[in-house]
């Protein structure tokens, strides 16, 4: 993500203390404070029901905040109807008008703005060229493939030059290969137009690939908002650590804290040194987070180089092409995963005793995981 951070950091959209409830009992979005910078690609990431889509819909104007204010380009827009906000939007199932051709779909936002005919033609042609669909201009959406419809929806949201485009899981209906292709295409369009994009998805891979910043939603609250690498390497709580990427969890209690590190007594026995991130000092419950690629595996007789070492038992090995995973039982966690670099021979037997080891700075002491 080097150089991916926009230079202009002035704020385009500000959510100030926004709350939203549908039923008057449960808050779908609670106390949302969020600044969206001009020109950035911000992804709202979270499980379903986390409030990310509601946040997007409030920004688009299809839902009204129960509390708080949304400021777009310096103006409060709480009472502004969606059609006057000038925000482009790409919908989950594209919402291309089925009774209009591709051309007519693209011309729609321009003709409702009563632009001159010649200019409409010009801009539609430019939009078609951008998505490379000129030969299909006279087709109707139903005659296009999923990827082509997606591109038309994208072009339609951009053709009237909005300063902000919202995308609501736009790639959800495409197959994996096409999705990856479209991710790059959207990213490319973002970079070449400098438009501000707010993107909603529940696919973390998509979020990591495309975003300048990611806001991780859960329970109507932003858990962490940061650059993709920061989010992955330095999650601030257990939810983010578990939601983004693979994560090994070890639960325990803080025994001693000091010098930037702390000692954690594991529930299953043994102690490890960890980086305190979200713990309240001595005696606090904690969930340790260790990424599978930060763990090294030692066979019987080998001496670990890392300070933290725990005995483990091999349960399974999974071959994944570019790497392999060893699934172990370690410190009471029956799904402790270790990523093995390519070339490592998989001669691990089921039940074989091994040792797992990791550095204290790769082991983050986060808040204890709530028991459901």
């Amino acid at each position: 993500m080097d150089g991916g951070i926009p230079v202009a950091t002035d704020t385009l959209v500000r959510f100030a203390g926004v709350q939203k409830t549908y039923d008057g009992e449960h808050l779908v979005v609670r106390n949302l404070d969020l600044d969206i910078r001009r020109g950035e690609f911000l992804t709202l990431l979270g499980p379903s029901g986390s409030g990310k889509t509601t946040t997007l819909m409030m920004l688009a104007g299809f839902e009204v905040p129960t509390e708080g204010e949304i400021i777009l380009d310096g103006r409060p827009i709480k009472d502004m109807p969606p059609h006057r906000r000038g925000i482009g939007m790409v919908f989950q199932n594209y919402a291309l008008f089925p009774h209009m051709t591709v051309e007519e779909n693209l011309a729609f936002p321009l003709s409702v703005r009563k632009l001159p005919k010649a200019e409409i033609r010009e801009r539609v042609a430019a939009a078609l060229a951008m998505i490379k669909l000129e030969p299909l201009a006279r087709r109707r959406p139903g005659q296009l493939s999923g990827g082509q419809q997606q591109r038309v929806a994208l072009a339609r949201a951009l053709v009237f030059n909005p300063q902000l485009v919202l995308m609501d899981e736009p790639l959800g209906a495409l197959d994996k290969r096409l999705r990856e292709h479209m991710q790059l295409e959207i990213k490319h369009i973002h970079e070449s137009t400098g438009i501000t994009v707010v993107y909603v998805t529940h696919d973390q891979g998509e979020a990591l690939t495309m975003s300048d910043r990611i806001a991780v939603f859960n329970d109507g609250v932003i858990q962490q908002i940061d650059r993709p690498d920061e989010l992955y390497e330095r999650p601030v709580n257990s939810f983010v650590a578990n939601f983004i990427g693979e994560n090994n969890v070890l639960s325990g209690t803080v025994e001693a804290a000091g010098e930037g590190l702390c000692t954690v007594r594991l529930d299953a026995g043994g102690a490890v040194t960890a980086l305190p991130v979200a713990v309240n000092g001595r005696g606090a419950r904690t969930a340790l987070s260790v990424r599978p690629e930060r763990v090294r595996l030692y066979r019987e007789g080998e001496t670990p180089a890392e300070p933290n070492a725990l005995p483990a038992t091999v349960l399974d090995t999974i071959y994944l092409g570019d790497h392999s995973l060893a699934v172990l039982e370690a410190a009471g966690n029956p799904e402790f995963m270790v990523k093995l670099p390519p070339g490592v021979r998989l001669d691990l037997r089921h039940g074989q005793p091994v040792t797992v080891a990791f550095r204290p700075e790769d082991c983050r002491a986060l808040d204890p995981i709530r028991q459901p």
Partner: protein, 415 residues
């Protein structure tokens, strides 16, 4: 591709056909009961009706010799002596067999007064006329036998098929020379009845669309629980019989009825409005009865339009009214078409409702079909009127199919 069909084995294409045949037989077996039911309750009666509208058997059966003798007649002058002799023989035999009335009734449709002519002639011919004196004998009984039109009527009704009833249903007839001419003004009623029928049908369709569209929109956009409750009210009329509902309108709309009493009580009017036994009553009652047939297809089409389209239109800058007209309305066209077609076709076939709540000038074509079927037993004309109605309906269905399903390229992007 590997060659699957080896030598000595059954060819692949044949095996495919066999496998498919089993499937087709099974599918056919499932629909056979309904097909038979439709055949005997629907297709056969309709075919019978269509046949009756052109069937012309009476004269050929009762006066066979006359019809044969007129076979070579050119119709320009009076027929020859042999035709008179044949008629005299036929009438004598028919009188003895008491079948004259059958032919007399048929010929009376063509020429007013023919019934009296034929019956009195049959009664008057006691003996076989002298050879060569048949014409003089008949002319003595009634001078009408010296007129070309009389013989042309018999010749025109010789069967076995005729366009007489179908022409009559369109206020047309053939003159003595066989040319198609318009019926005299005092006998021309069916064209105006058809016009009235289609006029009432169009009016009722327009009223149903006007009243049904907003209701269907509301039903399609409300949350499921509320819309299900409202849907019960839409379907409520289906739970009572047509007759009961129509009679209820009589109670409500008559001069001493609830509506007039209420209006007078509020002081809105002094004299009762004439709401029933006229066109107003027909429109009110028929619109009420047919409204669900408009709402249901509209609702099903509107329900399938995802709200995302309107949101997309708004996000693209269209104010609600523009979004409605340019995005929502075009997508309801199939529902509007289906609802209008359904209501119109049902409306032009209506009988009970206009008969009960309409005046003499509000009767639709079905009333006349029923009249000729049960009152005068002129099944030929009843069938012909029915055939014209059926043809008009089929024509409409074809036009609708062209209009709505012609550009069927909206695609499956409805989910």
């Amino acid at each position: 591709m590997t060659a699957i069909a080896d030598a000595g084995e059954v060819p692949l294409a044949l095996r495919l056909r066999r496998a498919e045949r089993m499937r087709r037989m099974k599918a056919l077996a499932l629909v056979v009961p309904l097909l038979l039911f439709l055949l005997f309750t629907f297709l056969v009666p309709i075919a019978g009706m269509l046949w009756r509208s052109v069937d012309d058997w009476e004269v050929a059966q009762v006066l066979p010799r006359t019809v044969a003798a007129l076979g070579a007649w050119d119709g320009r002058d009076l027929p020859g002596e042999d035709a008179y002799a044949a008629l005299a023989a036929d009438l004598r035999q028919a009188y003895a067999e008491r079948t004259v009335a059958v032919a007399a009734k048929r010929l009376n449709y063509a020429v007013n007064g023919f019934r009296t002519l034929l019956m009195s002639t049959a009664r008057a011919i006691r003996d076989v006329p002298e050879p060569g004196a048949a014409r003089a004998t008949l002319a003595a009984i009634d001078p009408a036998w010296e007129r070309r039109e009389t013989w042309a009527a018999i010749h025109g009704a010789r069967g076995p098929v005729t366009d007489f009833y179908l022409l009559a249903a369109l206020d047309l007839r053939r003159d003595a020379d066989g040319a198609v001419i318009g019926a005299p003004a005092d006998q021309s009623i069916y064209r105006s009845v058809f016009a009235r029928t289609f006029g009432i049908g169009l009016g009722v369709t327009a009223l149903c669309l006007l009243l049904g569209f907003p209701v269907a929109y509301l039903l399609a956009t409300l949350p499921a629980r509320t819309s299900n409750l409202l849907m019960i009210f839409v379907l409520l009329p289906f739970w009572t019989s047509l007759l009961v509902r129509t009679c209820a309108w009589i109670v409500l709309l008559q001069s001493q009825g609830l509506v007039n009493d209420a209006l007078r009580w509020t002081g809105a009017i002094d004299d009762p409005l004439r709401l029933i036994y006229n066109r107003t009553g027909v429109f009110i009652a028929m619109t009420h009865v047919l409204l669900p047939f408009m709402i249901l297809p509209l609702y099903s089409v509107m329900k399938a339009i995802p709200p995302a389209y309107m949101r997309a239109a708004a996000s693209l800058g269209a104010p609600p009214a523009v979004a409605f007209v340019r995005v929502y309305l075009p997508q309801t066209v199939p529902g509007v078409g289906a609802g209008c077609l359904l209501v119109f076709i049902l409306a032009i076939g209506y009988y009970i409702t206009p008969a009960l709540v309409g005046g003499a000038g509000d009767q639709m074509i079905s009333y006349f079909i029923a009249f000729y079927t049960t009152e005068t037993v002129n099944w030929g004309l009843a069938s012909a009127l029915g055939a014209v109605l059926l043809a008009a309906t089929l024509l409409l269905a074809v036009v609708y199919g062209r209009l709505v399903h012609g550009p069927s390229t909206t695609g499956g992007l409805k989910t």
